[in-house]
Subunit: 221 residues, 2 copies
């Protein structure tokens, strides 16, 4: 059921395409993303990680200070870009005369979807799904402190577009939709790869499905 073995995790067909490209810090971050997605934060050891990254064992503590700090940087690297992207998209649609729920949801979902379709980005979505499942208070606080304002801005927009819903009701629905999206995004790494034909069309279809699902989940009577 559990696996922490070292050797089989490095079998030939593995991801370990991360090494031999970019600086040491970037290689570590890439390998960390892949191994955290596969084996979790506890399950992935620094020895696996540095082997996959093709760097020395001590490099992690030299460049990041500790394993925990490395975890934090793995989150920061992706979430900074993701939430910036989300805010930019949101700013675009709220400026328009007739903002719809679909527009706002697209601003929330599309950036995450693009990330999950971009090679290593899909691995990060799995890391994120793991993190949500952890229910760790430290992580919760980290997310709230650094990216809480984004969620608050979107929530305010949802509240404006769905005035018939009470606050608890709205929060609840947002929570459910968030769960569905996280679940879906973290799974795309596997589903999506089944047919790589017309990648762009597939991505557009996916976006439409997710947005429609979210609209239905948020606005049903």
């Amino acid at each position: 059921m559990l696996k922490r073995s070292f050797e089989p995790a490095c079998r030939p067909g593995m991801i370990l395409t991360v090494n031999s490209s970019g600086s040491t810090k970037e290689r570590i971050l890439g390998a960390a993303e892949a191994l955290f997605a596969q084996h979790g934060f506890d399950g992935a050891s620094l020895r696996q990680l540095t082997t996959v990254a093709g760097v020395n064992l001590a490099a992690v503590n030299y460049h990041f200070g500790s394993k925990d700090k490395l975890v934090e940087q793995v989150f920061r690297r992706r979430l900074d870009a993701l939430n910036q992207h989300r805010l930019a998209e949101l700013a675009k649609v709220v400026g328009q005369p007739q903002t719809t729920l679909e527009d706002v949801l697209a601003a929330y979902i599309r950036p995450a979807l693009e990330l999950s379709h971009d090679g290593n980005g899909s691995l990060f979505m799995r890391v994120l799904a793991r993190a949500f499942a952890e229910h760790d208070d430290t992580l919760r606080q980290f997310l709230s402190e650094n990216y809480g304002h984004v969620m608050r801005q979107f929530t305010a927009e949802f509240a404006r577009l769905l005035p018939q819903l009470s606050k608890p009701e709205l929060y609840w629905r947002i929570d459910l939709v968030t769960g569905a999206l996280t679940h879906a995004m973290s799974g795309f790494g596997m589903i999506q790869r089944k047919s790589d034909v017309s990648e762009h069309l597939h991505r557009e279809q996916t976006a439409q499905h997710l947005i429609r699902f979210a609209v239905a989940g948020l606005s049903h009577p």
Copy 2:
């Protein structure tokens, strides 16, 4: 970000009410459920676990064979009952002349909700949410082998009630709904405790919300 420290995990206000009740095996299963929910399968050590359970360190390997087997039993104990309950509820509604989507979803959701509202059962839902996020193939196979027939039965019923949806479309929506439910159930351990007044009413409201959300997510045009 990560915590595997031993001492603070056993601070006074902790869950550790598990010990000193029931047989050794049951105490171990209870403590395992709680610690796996909090710290994950890798993060929870057998030494924490046996301390919380009030049993000897060797007891786990004596009664279960290994830590992995213990994990499996933690799943079996709850999932056997849960899926049996689900099938019983499903059998009730499909026997009726006019089966609705709400009925089938209620048969799927209510048993899980009851489990998540029952003390340690809510901890198990968190364990389950973790397991889903792991994306572990071994676990996937375990679930498919032992409980796949339940999901297949429900899926067939969904397909019968939603003939306008293509198979891929249906599977997708089920996946999204499953993600939302797992996310929600695993979170109830925290949300629900905020107001313990009229527990039964709250539970009924929750069930209604989840079912309506699922109906909307599955059957939107």
